[in-house]
């Protein structure tokens, strides 16, 4: 099921919320587990078994790691940890990467391995990462073992963040597993957060998506430079609002249920360097890779050469985490290159400039090169990606901007809303007006957004049949 759909909003969510509120405290985890399984099975009626397998496997591994540790058998515990990680990576490798790798082998060595065309199980990249973090944290002693399989199942399958994050580490919510408050103030906050997230997804991300789709249909060989940049703006806003909207909805729902999920985005487009951008973009994923890959590889403690290598490894992995395709690898390595350049020289140069100028230039440079990065993200065909980038810098016609102006006019207001909304300005505004607002105004705000979102969702299915027409 997806959040931005009528089934979720007008069936699943109200039923789940009412059931949760009336449910006695000791059964709430079980209820969330059940609701999450239904939520997942709605989209993946078969692969839900895979997720249950993963749950049971990591539950058992967690128990065994703990048991070995208690017995003082650290090698035994390590063996179970490795087994847990291998199983998770095998799941991910088989369902997500096997097809890609076989394709490359077949092309590279002219082998005739039968092609594997498996549908990617929804959310597998997220839940395998979450369960891995659990096993590792139990091994490291950073999380206590979970002995109740229902509670553990709830953690793995929890529907608010199951499909698109944020990646919640077990240690993040350990305290709230058994005992969590259900206060009306929290529900209030959660509702507002959820509604804003829904509006970001439905009213903004989907609309920018339409603009991007329109621009994407223009053949790269005739794409004017101005249109290319408009495309990057549209796509950059689409992916930001899509992803951060989903995170807001997840965090909001988590808050309603009494959890406190980690933040995932902090106005990344305000950053003044690419390193900063990725400290503010999909923060839980960056933290996961830092915690479980970068630091274990030695991070920055083993000399500059090693650090550069570590950055490259982490970003290659980050790239292919986003999708099993060469362009994502290029995307990751592209940013690895920028991060390394920044570490070695760029940041020092910006620091030498007067502060305001340095920040300004840094901001522009970040937006431009993050934007160019999105070109790799959206084009699975690398030749097309490079063609597109060439067009951006005038390899072609700078003129013929009439079409760009047409679309700019169509989307002007939305683009302005999108750009301003991606900064911290609305949040600052909300803070300063807090004392003038009361619950009634907030309620009107929520009701208004829900109504408009409903109209957009119903409209999305608008599909006039016009073949009769001539």
């Amino acid at each position: 099921m997806v959040f931005a759909g009528i089934t979720f909003l007008y069936r699943f969510l109200p039923i789940t919320l009412i059931a949760y509120f009336v449910c006695p405290k000791q059964f709430r985890n079980g209820l969330l587990f059940l609701a999450s399984l239904i939520f997942y099975a709605w989209g993946e009626p078969i692969y839900v078994l895979l997720m249950l397998f993963s749950t049971v496997s990591d539950y058992w591994h967690g128990r065994m790691i703990d048991q070995r540790k208690q017995a003082g058998d650290i090698h035994g515990a390590r063996r179970f940890l490795i087994s847990s990680i291998v199983i998770n990576l095998l799941l991910l490798g088989f369902f997500k990467y096997a097809g890609w790798i076989i394709g490359m082998l077949n092309r590279g060595f002219h082998l005739g391995i039968p092609e594997l065309s498996l549908a990617l199980p929804l959310g597998i990249s997220f839940y395998t990462f979450q369960t891995m973090s659990y096993s590792i944290d139990v091994y490291r002693g950073e999380a206590r073992v979970q002995k109740n399989i229902i509670d553990f199942g709830m953690f793995v399958t929890m529907f608010p963040q199951l499909i698109a994050g944020p990646i919640v580490r077990y240690a993040d919510i350990e305290e709230r597993m058994k005992n969590r408050p259900l206060t009306v103030c929290q529900v209030e906050q959660g509702v507002v957060r959820f509604t804003i997230g829904l509006a970001k997804k439905v009213l903004l991300a989907n609309e920018f998506g339409k603009l991007w789709d329109r621009i994407q249909t223009v053949d790269v060989s005739v794409l004017p430079a101005s249109m290319g940049w408009l495309g990057i703006l549209a796509y950059g806003l689409q992916i930001y609002y899509d992803f951060s909207g989903y995170s807001d909805m997840a965090i909001g729902l988590g808050t309603i249920f009494g959890f406190s999920f980690p933040e995932n985005f902090r106005y990344p487009y305000e950053s003044v360097s690419i390193s900063e951008f990725f400290r503010r973009w999909h923060m839980t994923l960056q933290k996961w890779f830092a915690e479980y890959v970068y630091y274990p590889l030695g991070g920055n403690r083993k000399g500059l050469k090693r650090q550069v290598l570590n950055i490259a490894v982490v970003w290659a992995l980050t790239g292919i985490w986003h999708g099993a395709s060469g362009n994502f690898l290029v995307w990751g390595l592209y940013f690895a290159a920028w991060l390394i350049l920044e570490k070695l020289w760029l940041l020092k140069i910006f620091e030498k400039l007067p502060m305001k100028i340095g920040r300004f230039l840094g901001h522009i440079y970040t937006l431009v090169f993050v934007g160019i990065g999105w070109v790799f993200f959206t084009h699975t065909d690398l030749r097309e990606a490079f063609g597109y980038i060439g067009r951006l810098f005038g390899n072609g016609n700078f003129a013929s901007g009439a079409e760009t102006i047409y679309w700019l006019r169509e989307y002007a207001v939305l683009l302005i809303i999108g750009v301003v909304g991606a900064t911290s300005l609305p949040m600052k505004l909300a803070k300063t007006t807090e004392k003038y607002r009361n619950e009634i105004i907030n309620a009107i705000f929520v009701a208004f957004l829900m109504l408009v979102c409903t109209a957009f969702l119903v409209d999305a299915s608008y599909n006039p049949f016009l073949y009769f027409r001539f």
Binding site: L17, P45, V184, E403, Y406, E410, D459, Y462, N463, P464
Partner: protein, 385 residues
């Protein structure tokens, strides 16, 4: 004491409103009777899917259920209109490939990027060969081609630059030159110029992709030249004033309404109209009951049949074969005083040979389409069959 109580209760407002809307929406939906058909969208709506194990396992139940809830959402058409208005409020003017103008109605856009160059070339080639062959048989004065530009060409000054429109004028100019080089200069009827002169009048519907009865009249003056009858030779009658056509459906904008006008020659005539070789025979160029059905435009000649024969009994000794799309439907009333017999064939449904049909003694032939439709039609090759 009381204040403390108020402090507590006010935090309930947002959650109660939110949950109330979700529950209210859900309950409202459950109690709204399901509709089978959407008149606006002209399609069957998704019905409650059957709950079977097989449908659950292949997830088709779930996707059908989402489609069902969305299609059957209470006041569906109003939500869609609300979305369109939200877009208008945000300064958007184009919805579903339709440009919304203040005073000139809804203009359907035909984009260069949506046209298939290969098909344009082959359809043009077919048309030229067909015209050449017909001229050989009937003479230059008895063969005419009318490719009628659509509203986005005649009213292009209402649409901002950069919409990437297919240049219908340039195409017509080129086609005219092609014919002129073969010294068939008069074959292509200068319908664009005639419509351009009257672009400020209601020559197109505000909500539909067709030309109006008036637009067709100006087309007729270009076709008949100096022999054309004047507007005074006809009387006009409005049969409905609440027509919303295909273009309104395309963009989800139902506020505007159009009139459907019927034209009658003042000089009384009797007709025998034969649809699909005897399937329906009647005495009028109009099937008036259709004006109140799902597709009111079908009032003209009863819609699109494979072959329609109109006998007018005007005694001029001339007969006309029209190869056409629906742009011809409201064109025929202007011709009934000049031709004894008018036959219309629609190549999408008519599978006989056109050249053979011409041999049945027609004195004149006319190819009448709206231009973008002609250039994207897949059946044009049948002209030479």
């Amino acid at each position: 004491m009381k204040k403390g109580y108020l402090q507590k209760i006010r935090h309930w407002i947002v959650p109660v409103v939110f949950l109330g809307m979700l529950i209210g929406g859900g309950v409202w939906q459950s109690f709204t009777p399901d509709r089978d058909y959407s008149v606006y969208e002209r399609r069957l709506l998704q019905q409650r899917p059957a709950l079977t194990v097989a449908h659950i396992l292949d997830a088709s139940y779930m996707s059908d259920y989402e489609a069902y809830l969305t299609d059957q959402f209470p006041m569906r058409d109003h939500w869609i209109t609300m979305k369109t208005y939200a877009g208008l409020l945000l300064g958007q003017r184009e919805f579903g490939g339709v440009y919304i103008t203040e005073n000139d109605g809804l203009i359907e856009l035909h984009r260069m990027s949506e046209m298939d160059d290969g098909r344009i070339e082959s359809n043009t080639g077919t048309l030229v060969s067909f015209a050449e062959e017909m001229i050989g048989r009937l003479g230059t004065d008895h063969v005419r081609v009318m490719l009628v530009p659509t509203a986005d060409c005649i009213k292009k000054n209402k649409i901002p630059d950069g919409a990437g429109l297919f240049d219908q004028s340039a195409y017509l100019q080129k086609l005219h030159e092609t014919f002129a080089q073969m010294s068939y200069g008069g074959v292509l009827v200068p319908v664009e110029a005639a419509l351009m002169t009257h672009a400020g009048e209601a020559v197109y519907y505000k909500t539909d992709h067709h030309w109006t009865m008036l637009g067709a009249y100006y087309g007729y003056t270009a076709y008949a030249g100096e022999h054309a009858k004047t507007l005074d030779d006809f009387s006009f009658r409005v049969i409905t004033d609440c027509f919303t056509g295909t273009v309104a459906a395309k963009c989800g904008m139902y506020r505007m309404k159009d009139e459907i006008v019927l034209a009658y020659p003042k000089k009384e005539q009797e007709y025998l109209v034969n649809h699909n070789e005897g399937a329906r025979i009647n005495n009028s160029l109009y099937e008036e009951d259709k004006a109140y059905g799902d597709d009111p435009y079908a009032v003209y000649l009863g819609g699109n049949d494979a072959i329609v024969t109109v006998e007018t009994g005007c005694g001029t000794g001339r007969s006309l074969l029209i190869v056409r799309d629906s742009y011809a439907n409201c064109f025929v009333p202007y011709l009934t005083q000049e031709y004894e017999k008018i036959t219309l064939i629609d190549l999408r449904y008519y599978n006989g040979s056109v050249t053979k049909l011409v041999g049945e003694g027609y004195t004149d032939i006319l190819v009448l389409y709206n231009l973008p439709n002609f250039l994207s039609d897949r059946q044009v090759y049948k002209l030479l069959r």
